[in-house]
């Protein structure tokens, strides 16, 4: 995919940050995040500058707080203290629908494609602007709404093709295989124009061929200069995809570095595998 095509994903109307290799303007920064559920401290001081254009892995045993960090970063969940800034704006605890429009997209562990919509519509929904989602405009300005809708379908088509689902774009998402649903979930993030993607266990539940396809997509996203934070239990995927790994346990980052460095530390392996 060429650079100019990549730009289609962040059309006017979505806050269009550079899809870009400079990436500096859409930097995601977490400072001193704390979150407690009842008496349980789930996140105990999370600080991180997500390096632009880099694939970072977030690993750790179950219950380490990985998904909670995603929820704190992507909006919706307010931290007890600390701040999240994205693209130089404070987005701490701002609603997810606002944050995602700024270009910070997230996927879900349990995929959550819309089964009753076809692939194209799944992406077009993420691509549609606030204006075309207005009921008043839909009724009073039908022509302009239809025109805008055409543009978002165009963006959606590109996104669907990017992940290799072009031939299935008219299929209902509910009828897709699990592997294809996972790809569709990533395509949706492209459709909304995400420059930073938070992917929650994209490889879980996939067979080898599914994992290969997924890694190919992630590689191309990385080559485009998008920033990716990846929660993943499949350490082969982490080793191949990530230039950097954060090891999380009980809400704290215990180690940070290249995959080889982090995985070489025996005490972490013990924590992870419960040996």
């Amino acid at each position: 995919m060429t650079a100019e095509k990549a730009l289609v994903f962040s059309r006017a109307g979505h806050v269009s940050h550079s899809t870009g290799r400079d990436g500096g303007s859409s930097r995601l920064v977490a400072r001193g995040l704390f979150k407690r559920f009842g008496s349980q401290e789930v996140i105990a001081g999370f600080d991180h500058d997500l390096e632009p254009g880099v694939v970072t892995g977030l690993v750790g045993p179950n219950g380490a707080g990985k998904t909670t960090i995603f929820n704190l970063l992507s909006g919706g969940l307010k931290p007890d203290s600390g701040t999240v800034t994205f693209a130089d704006q404070d987005v701490t605890g701002r609603p997810m629908h606002v944050v995602s429009r700024m270009g910070l997209g997230r996927s879900f562990q349990d995929v959550r494609v819309f089964p009753a919509l076809d692939c194209l519509d799944n992406c077009a929904l993420y691509a549609q602007t606030v204006r075309e989602t207005s009921l008043v405009r839909t009724l009073l300005m039908p022509r302009s709404t239809a025109r805008l809708s055409g543009v978002s379908r165009q963006v959606a088509t590109e996104a669907v093709e990017f992940v290799g689902l072009g031939s299935k774009k008219d299929n209902l998402a509910g009828s897709l295989s699990y592997a294809d649903q996972k790809l569709l979930a990533i395509a949706r993030l492209l459709a909304i124009g995400a420059t930073t993607l938070l992917l929650d266990e994209p490889a879980s539940g996939l067979d080898r061929r599914g994992v290969e396809k997924l890694m190919e997509v992630i590689r191309r996203l990385r080559d485009e200069g998008r920033t990716i934070l990846l929660i993943e239990h499949n350490l082969d995927v982490v080793r191949e995809m990530c230039q950097k790994v954060l090891f999380l346990d009980r809400g704290r980052v215990l180690a940070e570095g290249t995959p080889d460095d982090v995985f070489a530390r025996t005490e972490l392996a013990e924590l992870y595998f419960g040996a």
């Binding site: 919706g76 629908h97 959550r112 009753a116 929904l125 075309e132 009921l135 295989s177 996939l206 061929r209």
Partner: protein, 311 residues
């Protein structure tokens, strides 16, 4: 006989307009609204007041006024949807139903109190007096087509796509940059405006408006029309309205008391809840949908057998 058929048609068309939007509210927002009759009643009184005070009986003026009043009222009563989800809104809407109707009853200078207003001039459009039953049908059909067309349009456009998504997964919708709350309020207001328009037509036909006619039982009847006919479908409300609004006639035909209407409606609701969760119209659509799903997963598995996994 022909008179009865005409009346049944007029009732069915009017109620179809009144509950058409409601079916989207119930179907996609999954909230049950028990205040639809109150907005319907406010539409009725808009006509009754304007006509009895000799302001105008021209539907081309009264209907837009009713749209504004009904829309604003729905906006106010719909605002709690931002805070109250699903089941809790039933209680809020019940409260609105009582407040609005009791308000009308007590605002005697406008509504005429419990007996209401009656005996006003017949409606007109640009000087054409609408008097016979057929005249009414000629007025109702284009309004219905316009309302139906608008709803079909809304469903085809991005707004409708978002409604379908909202019914499935609000978190994934938010991750897509769309706020479910505003969608919910939007369809709710749309449903209210259509009910207000229907109210104008209803009263201009009956030539009487009394607050008691728009009570809670009327709201239950309206939501029953949606559920029996089938929410999410735009044909559903027609089926529901046709059958339930003319139920007293059918009962009369088999020599049952009109008071059995409630009993029959209740039994129907139970049957639908147990056996036809998507209503009568849902029978057909779910069949088509299943076919499509089946067809596509068959294609998918024949093209790429190795990419199985769960689906």
């Amino acid at each position: 006989m022909i008179y009865i058929i005409q009346t049944i048609v007029i009732y069915s068309l009017t109620y179809s307009i009144a509950v058409m939007g409601l079916s989207l509210v119930v179907g996609y927002s999954q909230i049950f609204v028990l205040s639809q009759a109150a907005v319907f009643g406010v539409g009725s009184f808009t006509y009754a007041v304007m006509s009895s005070r000799n302001i105008t009986s021209d539907l081309l003026i009264v209907i837009p006024v009713a749209i504004v009043i009904g829309g604003l009222l729905s906006l106010v009563t719909g605002l709690p949807l931002f805070r109250l989800g699903g089941d809790y809104y039933i209680v809020a809407s019940l409260a609105f139903q009582y407040v609005i109707i009791q308000g009308l009853v007590n605002w005697t200078s406008v509504s005429g109190g419990p007996p209401g207003l009656f005996g006003f001039s017949s409606p007109s459009i640009l000087g054409w007096n609408i008097t016979s039953n057929m005249d009414f049908i000629y007025v109702l059909v284009p309004i219905l087509v316009l309302a139906l067309g608008s709803l079909l349009w809304v469903r085809r456009m991005p707004y409708g796509r978002a409604l379908v998504a909202m019914a499935d997964d609000e978190a994934a919708l938010a991750a897509g940059g769309v706020k479910a709350d505003s969608l919910r309020v939007g369809v709710f207001v749309l449903a209210g405006t259509l009910a207000a328009v229907a109210g104008v037509l209803f009263t201009s036909f009956l030539n009487v408006a009394s607050p008691g006619d728009y009570g809670i039982s009327e709201s239950i009847l309206m939501i029953s029309m949606v559920l029996v006919g089938g929410s999410r479908s735009l044909i559903g409300p027609f089926i529901g309205a046709l059958f339930l609004s003319s139920l007293p006639y059918w009962l009369n035909l088999v020599n049952w008391s009109v008071y059995m209407t409630g009993v029959v409606t209740g039994v129907l609701l139970l049957l639908v809840a147990f056996f036809l969760p998507d209503g009568v119209a849902g029978l057909a659509t779910s069949w088509v949908h299943r076919r499509r799903m089946h067809e596509q997963s068959r294609q998918a598995s024949s093209v790429e057998p190795s990419l199985g996994g769960q689906s």
